[in-house]
Subunit: 233 residues, 2 copies
């Protein structure tokens, strides 16, 4: 590329990068609101999440189009292409995290409108905080091209899976001990599942960040191979 | 592109297209085996699905690399770029359908090893057949560039969601009537969820096919706008 074209390319890429972070911030807010709706039963928050999802979707389509145009017009070399493909993948996962926020807020609505007397007492706070924290750290790792940070998020996903399995067991125990809790327990099960999925998507994003920085595809590796692969250089 | 380069590009693209269909066929087999494992409790099938997943993952990485190399080397114009990006997106969904097959087979294993006396009688056959049928028709629509066929699959996803919600309600009823069914019911709930996700991924793939053929992004449209958009020309 000539210097002039290369500068144009850099500023286009910078604009897209900023938009990804904007989309990430928005999705983070969507989850926080959904989780707050669950705690408080505030239906205004439920509506805010549902209507906010259109904005998330719009950003995905806009960023996607900007990426396709950059590739078609600038014909980037392999390294730059990797950066753009990483962005295209990240926004797919971000959009799906947005969908999980909508699912959580729908469950918050169902729970809010039902008899809360039979709501099983299960502590979701830790899983909520971990899922939101993973998303935030995935976005930070992307912003800073931080392979160490991205690797930490990938490892954290194992802890989320363990926590999720524990909550499922607790919910089953509640249901068995008091069948009146069954309907609410199933709703909380879906909330937990959504939080676990947010962990999965955050992990996916971090794998893309590592691929972008290292040029090495680390998806589908066991965690030990993965860490060896990342530490290798 | 010169004629010579264009012919090379065509044959590379054809090879990748065939590999996508091969991957699709493999994923279809994975689900069929997982569902059969659920019906029969055959643990050999469970093992076959778990070990088959590595093959699915390998195909995803290979196709992805082939796509990136084609873009970097051939610098395709906007239309061809759209075709390659469609493939890259489709294989992400195919790989995740493969993951759902593994989840179903794990549940088949849990159910097979547990006391089947308290297995709630819920008919999953229809949901199973619809999910597998959607995947098959999504792959057909891709192979034939069939926008009508792809649209039909997108519409079918609504029926899957209704069927899934009905199964969840039936499972809740079983649990309430006989709490001894709770553990098995939760496992069947996860199986149903996995089948519903297979429908979602098949729908995603069809939206990409429509985008590829029509050059119009139909994700995030309501079904009516969607059909209008597809019929518009």
């Amino acid at each position: 590329m000539s210097d002039h074209i290369s500068k144009q390319y850099d500023s286009e890429l910078e604009a897209v990068r900023n938009k990804v972070l904007q989309m990430g911030g928005l999705v983070e807010q969507q989850i926080s609101k959904a989780v707050e709706a669950l705690d408080t039963g505030d239906l205004a928050l439920v509506n805010a999440v549902v209507s906010g999802d259109a904005h998330v979707n719009r950003l995905e389509v806009e960023i996607d189009e900007a990426c396709t145009q950059m590739i078609a017009r600038r014909q980037p070399a392999a390294g730059d292409l990797r950066v753009i493909h990483t962005i295209m993948r990240m926004i797919t996962d971000l959009e799906r995290i947005g969908d999980e926020a909508v699912k959580i807020s729908r469950m918050a609505q169902a729970i809010s409108e039902a008899n809360r007397a039979h709501l099983p007492r299960v502590e979701l706070k830790h899983l909520e905080n971990t899922a939101i924290g993973m998303l935030r750290r995935a976005l930070d790792a992307y912003a800073r091209l931080d392979v160490q940070g991205a690797t930490a998020v990938v490892r954290e996903d194992e802890a989320v899976d363990v926590e999720y399995a524990s909550i499922v067991r607790q919910l089953i125990t509640h249901m068995m001990e008091d069948p009146r809790t069954i309907s609410r327990a199933i709703e909380l099960l879906f909330v937990s599942k959504a939080l676990e999925r947010i962990g999965d998507h955050s992990k996916n994003m971090c794998e893309y960040v590592i691929y972008m920085v290292k040029g090495r595809d680390v998806r589908h590796l066991a965690i030990e191979e993965f860490e060896q692969s990342v530490q290798r250089d």
